[in-house]
Amino acid sequence: MKEDNDISQQLAEAVKAAAQKRTPLTITGSGSKRFYAGDIEGEKLDVTGHRGIVSYEPTELVVTARAGTPLAELEAALADKGQMLAFEPPWFGEGATLGGTIACGFSGPRRPYAGAARDFVLGTRIINGKGEILRFGGEVMKNVAGYDVSRLMVGALGSLGVLLEVSLKVLPKPAREVTLCFEMPADKAIQTMNTWGAQPLPLSAACHAGETLYVRLSGTELGVQAARAKLGGKPMDKGNDFWREIREHRHSFFQNDVPLWRLSVPPAALPIDLPGKWLIDWGGAQRWLKSDASATDIRMQAEKAGGHATLFRHAKQNGATFHPLPAQLATLHQNLKRAFDPDGIMNRVVAV
C-alpha cells in the first residue's frame, strides 16, 4: 500500500499554471473508467498521488478521503468497522479511485433502494479552473449553507474542477443478505419488481437477466427471513458474487463488443421496443441494451419511455456517449462550465 499523501497545493499550482497558459488538462486517476467519456485532450494531471483517508468516524457515519484513494482501500477500511458505501459503486478496475468514482457518479445495484453516489456526498474540496482550492458542504448530515456545489460535482466528469477530497455518508452493513431467483420473462419481471417496490419489503437490489428475476433482501436476520417467506423463490448460493458481476459488468451479458447502452427510464416503463439484448437492473429503472441500432432510434425510444440513453461502452465512434440536451439546458451547462472554469481547461468532455 502506498503512503498517504497530500499534494493539493502542488495540484492547485499546476492548474493555476495551466490556466495562465490556457493549456487543457486531463485529470487522471487509475484510468479504470477511461472507456466511458473517451479520450480527453490535454496535459495529464495525475491525482493518484493525492491519497489517503483524512478522517473516518464510524459513529458519525462519515468518511473523508482524498480523491486518489483507491476504492479498495476505502471500502476495506469501512468493512473493518462493519460499514459500507451504500451506493455500491462499480469499480470497473482494481485501481479505481474515489475521485473517479464520484466524478463519474456511477452507482451499483443498491441504488434504487439506498440512493445514488450523489445522495451520499456530504462535502467536497475541489480546485476550480482558476487553481483555487475551495470547500463546499462538509462532514455533517444536513447542510444548506450555500449552493450544493458538492453534489454538482458528482457525475460532472471533472469538467468543473479537480476533486481533491470527498466526504461521504456511510451506512452500516446489513446483518443479513439473501438473493432469491424467480424464472420469468422481462415484462413480468418489470411488473413484479415494481409491485414489490411499492410494498414495505427490505429490498436492496432487483434485476432481470436472461429469463430470471434476481431479488436481494437486506436487513436483520428476522426481517429478511420474514420477507423471504413472503416472496418465495429460490435462494441463490453466491448472491454476493452475482451482484458484483452485474455491478462490474463481468456478467456474461456484458461480454462482447456490441455497443452497450444504458437507458435510464421510469422503473415501471414497459419493455422498450429496440433490437438487441436487455439486462434490466435497478428494479426496472436502469436498462442495459446491447444493440447495433442507431443512436437516434435508441435515444428516441428512451425519451419516449420518459428517460435518456447513454452509450456506455464500445462506442463505434467518439463523441456519441451522452444524451443531447435541449438548447436552453445546454446553454445553462455552458454557463456553469464557464463559471467554474473560465479558461475552459478542465476535462473537456464532450458532454458539455
Binding site: V140, N143, P266
Partner: protein, 497 residues
C-alpha cells in the same frame, strides 16, 4: 429589524404604477396587488422579525403567466422574489421594496399520482402534507416531513432542501426529488428529469434543491413516493444528564441502527410541551430521546428490544415503549408541538438551525447553556439529534428595546460555535437574509465568489431574490471589521477563516 416602510419617491411610484399596469395586461386585476392592506400579509415569512412591505404582489395561476411576469421584469430590470407558503425561517421570501413578490400559492394542484412508478407530480404551491394525503390510499407516502408540513409548500421545500423528523433514514428533500420544471429569470422553461432515477448532464436537480429561489422559479415538481412501512414503534428514553443523552445518540448510530427518527428535547422544552399537550413526558428529566424504528414487523420488534437494552446501558434512567399506536402518536405529538409550546413561554422566540457532528452534541449544548446565562436569555433545545441538527430556540421579548439585537448576537455566537466544531450555520432552514453574515465565517472569499459566479450562470442580471443567501464580498469585509472592532473576532486560530 422592524418593518421597513420607506417612503417611495414620485418617480418610484410612477415606475410601480407602470409595472402594475403592464402586469394587468395579461393578469386579472385581483391577481396583481398594490394596495397597502393587500400587501400586508406578504410582508414577512416565518421569520417575522424581518418585515418589509412588498412593492407589488403577483399571483399568477399558469406557467405561461409566470413566464410573462419574468420576461417583463427581466426586460425592465425589476427584481423578483418567489414565495411559497411563507413559512420559511430565514427570511428567504422577504419581499423587496422595489421588486415583484411572485406568489406561487395558486399553483396548488396535484397533477398525477403514478402508483406504478411511485411518483407524485405536483405544482409548487401544493402543501407538503397534501402529497402524503393523496398518496395514502395507495399505501404510499412522501417521506420528508418538516414540522411545518401542514402549511409549507413543496416548492418552498425544494428551494430550502427541507428536512424533517424522518430524514435520518429517508433523506432530505434532495434525496426525494426526481424531476423539476423551473423558469430562469429570462422566462425560459427548463425541464430536469422526470420519473427516472437520474438525469443527463450536470446534476442540476441537486443544485436547484436548496438554492433558496436564487436560480429559478420552480413551477412543477416530481417527487418519489415510498411504501408505508408495515410498522413503526417509538421508545422514549429519560436522561438525567445531557452528556448521557448525547452519547446515547452516538451509541445508537454506532450500533448499526438507522432509526426512522431520533429526536432530543431538553428540560425547558420538555416542560413547555408537557404543559401544552400532555404528551406524558417526564417533566423532571434533563433530556429525553425519542427513537423510532420502522420496517417490517419482525425487524421492528427485534430492533426495539436491542435499542432498549442499549439505552439502559447508556445510562437512561427509564425507557418507555409506546404500548399502542395511540401512545406512539401521543409521544410524537409532543415533539411536533414543541415549537408552539415553547412559544407560550415567552412573547417571542428565535429559532436557530446549526448542524454539528453528533459527537459534539454534549459540548455544544453545554456552550449554548453558558451563552444563555451570559446573555440572560432563555434557550430551549428540541432537535433532530440523529442528524446533529440543532434548533436552539432563544426566548426574548421584541417589545423590549435592544432585546432582538441581543438575541441575534447570541444566535450568531451559537452558529459560530457550530462552525468551529466542524458544523454548519444551517441544516435545513436556509441562509436567507438571516444568516448572511455567518456565511462570511463559513466560507472564504474565493468560495463566495464561486457562488456568485454560479448564480450569474443562471441569472446574469442578478434579479432573482437579490441580497439573499450569499453575501457580497464587501458585506463580509464590513462584517469582519465589525467583529475586529468589537475585539470579538472568534476563533482566530481556526483554519477555516
Amino acid at each position: 429589524m422592524s418593518t421597513v416602510l420607506r417612503q417611495q419617491s414620485p418617480e418610484q411610484n410612477a415606475r410601480r404604477a407602470r409595472a402594475a399596469a403592464q402586469l394587468r395586461e395579461f393578469m386579472p386585476r385581483a391577481a396583481v396587488l398594490t394596495d397597502k392592506e393587500d400587501l400586508h400579509p406578504y410582508e414577512c415569512d416565518g421569520l417575522s422579525a424581518y418585515r418589509r412591505l412588498p412593492w407589488i404582489v403577483a399571483l399568477p395561476d399558469t406557467v405561461e403567466q409566470v413566464g410573462r411576469i419574468l420576461r417583463l421584469c427581466h426586460e425592465h430590470d425589476i427584481p423578483v422574489v418567489a414565495r411559497g407558503a411563507g413559512t420559511g425561517l430565514s427570511g428567504g421570501a422577504l419581499p423587496l421594496e422595489d421588486g415583484v413578490l411572485l406568489s406561487l400559492s395558486k399553483f396548488n394542484r396535484i397533477l398525477e399520482i403514478d402508483t406504478a412508478n411511485r411518483t407524485a407530480t405536483v405544482e409548487p404551491g401544493v402543501r407538503n402534507l397534501a402529497i402524503t394525503d393523496a398518496a395514502a390510499p395507495y399505501g404510499l407516502y412522501y417521506a420528508p416531513d418538516p414540522s411545518s408540513q401542514l402549511a409549507c409548500s413543496i416548492g418552498g421545500n425544494v428551494a430550502e432542501n427541507a428536512g424533517g423528523v424522518h430524514c435520518l433514514k429517508y433523506g432530505l428533500t434532495v434525496h426525494n426529488v426526481l424531476g423539476l420544471k423551473f423558469m430562469t429569470m429570462d422566462g425560459e422553461l427548463i425541464t430536469l428529469g422526470g420519473k427516472a432515477l437520474d438525469i443527463p448532464g450536470y446534476d442540476l436537480l441537486a443544485l436547484m434543491t436548496g438554492s433558496e429561489g436564487m436560480l429559478g422559479v420552480i413551477v412543477e415538481i416530481t417527487v418519489k413516493l415510498l411504501p408505508k412501512p408495515e410498522r413503526a414503534q417509538v421508545v422514549l428514553a429519560v436522561f438525567d444528564e445531557i452528556e448521557k443523552a448525547g452519547d446515547a445518540v452516538a451509541a445508537i448510530i454506532a450500533g448499526g441502527f438507522v432509526p426512522a427518527g431520533l429526536e432530543m428535547m431538553d428540560n425547558l422544552a420538555i416542560r413547555a410541551t408537557e404543559e401544552y399537550v400532555k404528551a406524558g413526558y417526564p417533566i423532571g428529566a434533563v433530556a429525553i430521546l425519542l427513537c423510532e424504528l420502522d420496517g417490517t414487523n419482525e425487524e421492528v420488534s427485534e430492533g426495539i428490544a436491542q435499542i432498549r437494552t442499549l439505552l439502559l446501558k447508556q445510562g437512561a434512567a427509564e425507557v418507555r415503549t409506546a404500548k399502542d399506536e395511540a401512545e406512539r402518536l401521543r409521544m410524537w405529538a409532543g415533539r411536533k408541538a414543541a415549537f408552539p409550546a415553547i412559544g407560550r413561554l415567552s412573547p417571542d422566540y428565535y429559532c436557530m438551525d446549526g448542524t454539528i457532528p453528533r459527537k459534539h452534541l454534549a459540548k455544544v449544548l453545554a456552550r449554548i447553556g453558558e451563552l444563555s446565562k451570559e446573555y440572560g436569555l432563555g434557550v430551549a433545545n428540541v432537535f433532530h439529534a440523529g442528524d446533529g441538527n440543532l434548533h436552539p430556540l432563544i426566548l426574548y421579548d421584541a417589545s423590549k428595546p435592544g432585546e432582538l439585537e441581543k438575541t441575534e448576537d447570541l444566535g450568531g455566537k451559537i452558529l459560530e460555535f457550530c462552525v468551529a466544531v466542524g458544523g454548519t450555520i444551517t441544516g435545513e432552514h436556509g441562509v436567507g437574509v438571516e444568516k448572511i453574515n455567518q456565511m462570511c465565517i463559513q466560507f472564504t472569499r474565493e468560495e463566495l465568489a464561486q457562488f456568485h459566479a454560479l448564480k450569474a450562470a443562471f441569472d446574469p442580471k442578478g434579479l432573482l431574490n437579490p441580497g439573499k443567501a450569499v453575501p457580497t464580498l464587501s458585506r463580509c469585509a464590513e462584517f469582519g471589521r465589525m467583529h475586529v472592532h468589537g475585539g470579538k473576532l472568534v476563533y482566530p486560530d481556526l483554519e477555516r477563516f
